[in-house]
Symmetry: D2
Subunit: 136 residues, 4 copies
């Protein structure tokens, strides 16, 4: 199992008047983190789109234990939880510098073509399928 | 059961290069929708904060069936799914003009004081507890 | 001169830890406000894009006098300051319920085709040019 | 003159349906870039706030030459253009990997205390004033 760690500093514009990061922003961090995991495994989402494959989010969830604070350094631990030709699930664990978990979550994605029609990657783009399998 | 309908037009800045609303933005819409539900029942979240009670999100999830498009009018159907003195759960159903469901989701909230210490609203602020009970 | 007033409530997710609306968000409000001004004059930006014309922002500026607060109702007064076939300038004045100006700003736009090549609207789409002239 | 270069990758959630970064997002990048410039000079904005001094934006402007694209690497060149005890102006130049300027802009800030009352830093916090002077 391939766990990728993506580090990041909390920006001011990500906080809200409660003084911590707004709960919607973690889904943006998850996006950054899975893009980073894939890029480190040689798969650029930009290139996937250029090949005519998109990975829209079909489900997303998040559990909030402790709010991340401004300028805190956070570490997003990301792994592929499931992968088949039709969908892919990523799991995320956002930790602070002390190693405490602040937030956990997951996103489920399907694969679609340029017209948003679902495709089975195993048949549609076997070479990409194999590359993604290597990430699991 | 009190279902509130909150209408809204999709803004350009909420879309991403996929041409539909970015998946993180629905959590902002949910926030608008529950604030509206509460306001229509005489409870302003702004006033709750002034009374020293906050309702941070402890869990959030979303299922995406169809992406909302730019300038589409959407209707967010919101109801309180659970309410006790310690936590509150809202359920959301985002529909388009034809009545099709685009996205569903839920958010769970706890109640905390100014120092982020959890409080049981029934004891901490009985008058607010009763008001919120009226929303269920 | 056609001044359009667009009303809006400040959302929680628009505030930052300073307790007021983050300065970047006013540019999103300006976008909502000019879209509203145009729509009220029978011009849907969505339809413009469908006709192959986009209006990217070429300049934007903002002066901040007083920060808008959570759940405050704001009124964005918008007018077209300049319009020719090649570019269009909007001016904005964000006021609170008491009529005090919180923020002022402007955005300049050019017209481009699907390939982002600048076009002169007077020649490219005379019917749209005339409609937009009616807004000034 | 101290020019700081802050590098950054364009995220998917920063793009809009035009396929490039939404014009409002550059103001968030400017925020990241000036925070980075200050941090590299030993001044953490987080610590300034803890000392009771905030730097709200009083003016902001941006000129857009070319839109930044998804996953493009951008380099934000930042320098202090003006600094006195009462206000501070930063200038930004966002370049791509080829060194072409995509966007330029500036932000003006004043100094306020916890009650948002303007302060002259030279008198209010001479040690911070001197540190900031070193950045110019």
């Amino acid at each position: 199992m391939n766990t990728n760690i993506y580090a990041r500093v909390v920006q001011y514009y990500e906080t809200d008047k409660m003084g911590v990061v707004h709960h919607s922003k973690y889904f943006c961090w998850f996006e950054e983190a899975r893009t980073d995991l894939m890029a480190k495994n040689g798969i650029l989402y930009r290139d996937m789109e250029a090949m005519g494959v998109m990975m829209p989010v079909t489900k997303a969830d998040c559990k909030y234990k402790k709010g991340a604070k401004y300028f805190e350094k956070v570490y997003i631990h990301t792994r592929v939880e499931k992968f088949g030709g039709a969908k892919m699930v990523f799991a995320y664990d956002v930790k602070n510098q002390e190693g405490d978990t602040l937030v956990t979550g997951s996103t489920e994605h399907c694969f679609v073509d340029d017209n948003f029609a679902p495709v089975n990657l195993k048949k549609y783009l076997p070479s990409l399928y194999e590359k993604l399998e290597g990430v699991v």
